[in-house]
Symmetry: C2
Subunit: 257 residues, 2 copies
């Protein structure tokens, strides 16, 4: 099976390495930046292009691993080859391919990727959607090659999953960032908080987040809450976030605040 990647970022890099390790041939990498395309192509023993009209026409599968905003523009520039076309975006409907390709779908890995940290896909849930049953089977088999967790999911559910992922990943990471900023401003090493972050995350394997909730907000510990708000200073953005989240936790657990 020959694969082409349109895009050379975190998702393309990690998916490409996972498929290459399973013996798939990565034929070509496209990126607007020929340097980015070249870097990834070197890792995957692939050709690279930076002009989309040079796209290889005979691949079995075309992965569009692009920023959501870049996908539409790119699709409009391509004279679609006959292979299967899939994008990897959580919040983009499959219908983006309608009228452009005849065989298409979505291949959404529910994970956060970095260029420099290779992900083991075995444990990464992959959500598949396809234009017909034949393509669906091909994509599920493909997903099953790299992951033990494959799901069929339509575009409506996937966009809710993507929204949930923003809270679970982007916003929880921002909580770490605020935490690190508070420590940095106090001359305390961020290392001291790392075991707490890891343990908080690992608790989801034994408790629901609802049951795992701890802290001054759920205890209605107004004394500690007031101390914290005062530590954050009068006009701080963090103060607004602290108050809003504290209020919301309290409401969720049905205690007055």
């Amino acid at each position: 099976m020959e694969i082409v990647f349109i895009g050379s970022g975190n998702v393309a890099t990690n998916l490409g390495l996972a498929f290459k390790a399973k013996g798939f041939i990565i034929k070509q990498i496209y990126s607007r930046s020929s340097q980015h395309a070249e870097t990834l192509a070197a890792k995957l023993d692939a050709e690279y292009i930076s002009d989309i009209t040079d796209i290889y026409m005979k691949a079995d599968l075309y992965f569009y691993a692009l920023k959501d905003s870049a996908l539409k523009t790119t699709l409009q520039k391509i004279d679609m080859p006959s292979g299967i076309h899939v994008h990897t975006g959580g919040s983009i409907p499959m219908s983006e391919f309608e009228g452009l390709a005849s065989r298409f779908g979505v291949f959404y890995p529910v994970q956060t990727f970095s260029i420099n940290k290779q992900i083991d896909f075995t444990n990464v849930p992959i959500c598949v959607e396809a234009c017909n049953l034949e393509v669906q089977k091909i994509l599920l088999d493909l997903a099953g090659n790299i992951s033990d967790k494959t799901y069929l999911m339509n575009s409506d559910q996937r966009k809710k999953l993507h929204l949930a992922a923003v809270f679970a990943c982007n916003f929880s990471n921002y909580m770490y960032d605020i935490s690190s900023k508070i420590l940095e401003d106090s001359g305390i090493t961020f290392d001291i908080i790392k075991p707490l972050i890891i343990e908080t995350a690992e608790k989801i394997n034994t408790l629901t987040p609802y049951a795992a909730q701890t802290g001054p907000a759920i205890r209605m510990d107004m004394k500690t809450i007031s101390k914290h708000i005062s530590l954050l200073g009068r006009n701080s953005e963090y103060r607004k976030i602290y108050k809003m989240l504290t209020k919301s936790i309290n409401k969720r657990h049905k205690r007055s605040y």
Copy 2:
């Protein structure tokens, strides 16, 4: 060394088990609830009391592992024995013991504890503060018995650390909770998001949270942000949180929103 625990909750349970495993004698457990005291005492081969005036007078160390709000009230009721008195609270100053005990300090483990999940303390940072150098040495040695990471930290720094811990633990857990609620309302299993949560947390070992930030907010991906806000519904609390955190992430990364 004989230890008495005042309190029988998550912190007392986990510290008690850690010290018992290292050969310390847990002499007595106090809790207002005799049932709670009995449960922990059984795990630690200790006596239990629910009347604080029955406190064992000859222990070397008294641990006050109580809710912040309960500590002051409890301290006022005790005729302090001559041992060393320490509390485990992040946001409570050491000075709470002044005038009440002659040898005292703070022993703050930077971790989140559950009664039913025993924590390996080896990796748990323990922040120590003491009334004098003699007590300081005893507490640092004690901490070193169960943990490889001991820190000296004064009350001012500790309360900032505790504030940072609220963001890193309580608020990040609340992000998981919102995520699970969104999935539940959409009929999607929370299991699908667990590997993402674990990976997001583990990234802090290789990247700063600032460098690890991903998602529509940092990309200024207004199309996805608008979709998400509309999915959350007009009057939703989660919508307010989404908007506030998106705005704040954008500001932190110095892009306009």
